[in-house]
């Protein structure tokens, strides 16, 4: 049964157990709030969400009042606005007004609501209470007790989501402060989320602090490539450089969180990039043009037809994997294709998945073989050593991890050509003979299929750095150098092709996948 109520003159049907703030937000009416968070328990301590309910003498907090039939709620009446102003004035009484040096400025709940509802002149004549500033709470978290409005979102996050209980409230009255319990540090694998949910500048990220003002940042919707979960994220970037990643809400995948490993994964977009096609002559690398590099690769592939192996990490998008599978099937004569996901990592029951690749499932859906473990690479090593494989084309693979430094050097000696393709200079890349730069997930469109079978979209945030190309364009150019005439104009066109050829992906398009992704069945 749903409850029928009126908010600001709008008739609304709400869930039976919904609170007024939830019902209002669902109907597109925004009620100012600090302590309420859709994924945390109700605290009801900030009093910012006051609304007027007909027939009740006082203003009530909408985050902790359940809806009822025939309730009539006002969120913008003069009494409510007066109430909010009063609450804001209380919250700001001891506030240091650090905005010029505060990293939150520009995305601060206090600034925003002050401009909307406050706009008073301070009437506070007494001295402000001073508290600790620049407190080191954990490896990436800095705390400012003066800016904190004690909404306890961070405390509840550590209690309810990570269940690690590092944070608590200490002391009383106007000296109350957030702190870690003795001997503890705010160092859980999801600690960065406390910075995101802190509505003010009390918790800031050491990594992001002072790097840039938030109003310079642009935002692009994307997917974290850190593991098979595929958390939905925003890439915050300026001038072709990524400054931070923020979680993007998707209740089917990551709620409103991301892990810290994923959060700092953005550094690979800015640093250690392979930017130009290169050829190795002896020990020295020489920059060459794409035409030269592709001519060399296609010539070797042709010369050693039948003795080619593709070693692929499932880092590429579905579009990449689809063209790679076509390349292997239709253009090269029966190469050995090995899908190598690398060593498994951390896994827990919140977000982290042991498979540290974003698209292991999608790669198989697109026609690449099932993944192999590091031990199973032995047969590939044997094939190279016995001369059955003369060309190894490694794509996004950490070669050092896959083979070990000694074996890798030996393999490179046996091979006629070792091609490395990747966005970053992964360990072991320098053993290759040719290096082809592909672009990172931030510089391209595409889709990943996460471990649940949800296809999700990447969006290009800025142009590729250097001469990097999306991997599918490299495959297309290679195929064309080998006599094909592929002419996909964009990743979107490849997905349209996938939608007609791969049964599980039938009918998919970028528009249909949208911002929150689309579940697909398994390919038979």
């Amino acid at each position: 049964m749903a409850k029928k109520l009126t908010i600001d003159g709008k008739e609304i049907l709400a869930r039976d157990d919904a609170t007024i703030i939830e019902a209002a937000h669902e109907a597109g009416i925004v009620i100012p709030h600090y302590c309420y968070h859709p994924k945390l328990s109700i605290a009801g301590n900030c009093r910012m969400c006051l609304v007027e309910i007909e027939g009740r003498p006082k203003l009530e907090i909408s985050c902790n009042t359940r809806v009822a039939d025939d309730m009539v709620v006002y969120t913008q009446s003069p009494r409510v606005i007066e109430g909010r102003r009063g609450v804001l004035e209380f919250l700001l009484i001891n506030h240091p007004l650090d905005c010029p040096i505060c990293d939150q400025a520009g995305e601060c709940g206090l600034q925003d609501y002050y401009m909307q509802y406050g706009l008073y002149h301070s009437r506070f004549l007494e001295a402000k209470v001073h508290k600790r500033k620049v407190v080191d709470l954990g490896p990436d978290i800095v705390f400012d007790a003066e800016r904190c409005i004690l909404c306890t979102r961070c405390v509840r996050f550590c209690q309810e989501i990570t269940k690690t209980n590092e944070l608590g409230l200490f002391y009383r009255g106007d000296t109350v402060e957030i702190d870690t319990f003795p001997g503890k540090r705010l160092d859980n694998k999801y600690a960065g989320n406390t910075v995101d949910i802190c509505p003010v500048g009390a918790l800031t990220s050491k990594d992001f602090r002072f790097k840039i003002r938030v109003w310079f940042l642009q935002e692009t919707k994307s997917i974290c490539p850190g593991c098979a979960r595929g958390c939905n994220i925003f890439i915050h970037h300026h001038d072709g450089r990524v400054y931070r990643l923020k979680p993007r809400r998707n209740d089917a995948v990551n709620d409103t969180w991301i892990c810290d490993a994923g959060r700092f994964g953005y550094k690979a977009i800015n640093e250690q990039r392979l930017l130009h096609p290169m050829q190795r002559q002896g020990e020295a690398w020489q920059r060459v043009s794409w035409a030269q590099a592709l001519a060399q690769v296609s010539e070797t592939l042709q010369r050693h037809a039948g003795a080619v192996a593709l070693l692929v990490a499932p880092q590429g998008t579905n579009e990449d994997c689809y063209l790679l599978a076509r390349l292997a099937r239709e253009v090269l004569s029966a190469p050995q294709v090995v899908l190598y996901p690398g060593e498994p990592g951390d896994e827990d029951d919140l977000l982290l998945r042991a498979d540290k690749n974003p698209n292991t499932r999608g790669a198989q859906d697109m026609g690449l073989p099932p993944p192999v473990s590091t031990a199973q690479l032995a047969s590939l090593v044997a094939a190279v050593e016995q001369g059955q494989v003369r060309v190894l084309y490694a794509i996004d693979v950490n070669l050092q991890q896959a083979f070990g430094a000694d074996t890798l050097a030996r393999l490179a000696g046996h091979l006629d050509c070792l091609v490395f393709q990747g966005a970053n200079t992964l360990p072991g890349w320098e053993q290759a003979h040719v290096a082809l730069p592909s672009c990172t997930y931030a510089e391209r469109d595409g889709t990943f299929t996460n471990f649940q079978g949800r296809v999700q979209r990447l969006n290009a945030a800025f142009r590729p750095r250097g001469e990097a190309l999306p991997a599918w364009q490299i495959y297309q150019r290679l195929a064309n150098a080998l006599g094909q005439s592929w002419d996909y104009p964009s990743a979107e066109a490849i997905l349209a092709d996938i939608a007609t050829r791969v049964p599980a992906y039938a009918g998919l398009s970028y528009a249909k996948i949208g911002d929150l992704g689309c579940l697909v069945g398994t390919t038979p």
């Binding site: 650090d98 905005c99 010029p100 040096i101 400025a105 600790r132 500033k133 620049v134 602090r209 002072f210 790097k211 003002r213 109003w215 310079f216």
Partner: protein, 165 residues
């Protein structure tokens, strides 16, 4: 528009009238030197009004450290995008943030004064009265923090080198 009369269309009488004014001033100044408005710049220093927007300078706190907190409001307000600030963590937690790098590209600046208006702590001013910012190379117009703070005289221009940071 009013039509020109025949007399005006001739132009010549008006030109002669203008020449007469010039000639009158010429002889008045030559003989009496009473109405000269020309300044003998650069032999005599020129006078600018106190509100004249000249080259920027950065102000100091009482303890001598830069007053700027690296809030970037000037850089945000600047229409020419010529202010480059890199903020850093100050060891004193009550200061917290300071500009490790503060460079103004005076060649790109349009001298609008918006940076001065934007600054919440009066850390940047344009009251130096300096307007002659000639140099031989574009790089020499990049004024770093120490020049703006007045730690060093802008001798680099005469010496034909880039300013030292």
């Amino acid at each position: 528009m009013e039509r020109l009369t025949f007399w005006q269309k001739l132009y010549l009488p008006e030109i002669l009238r203008g020449l007469a004014v010039t000639t009158r001033h010429f002889f008045a100044n030559l003989l009496g030197q009473r109405h000269t408005v020309t300044q003998q710049y650069p032999e005599q220093p020129t006078r600018v009004s106190p509100r004249y927007r000249g080259r920027h300078r950065l102000m100091r706190k009482e303890d001598g450290s830069p007053r700027c907190t690296a809030c970037m409001l000037c850089a945000t307000a600047c229409p020419a995008l010529c202010i480059h600030i890199e903020a850093a963590e100050h060891e004193d937690p009550t200061v917290e943030k300071y500009p490790a790098v503060f460079t103004i590209d005076e060649l790109r600046c349009v001298f609008c004064g918006l940076c001065v208006e934007a600054c919440p702590c009066d850390a940047i001013r344009m009251d130096t009265g300096v307007f002659a910012l000639a140099a031989y190379k574009r790089e020499h117009f990049l004024y770093p923090r120490n020049l703006l703070l007045g730690d060093e005289e802008p001798r680099h221009i005469a010496e034909g080198r880039a300013p030292l940071d």
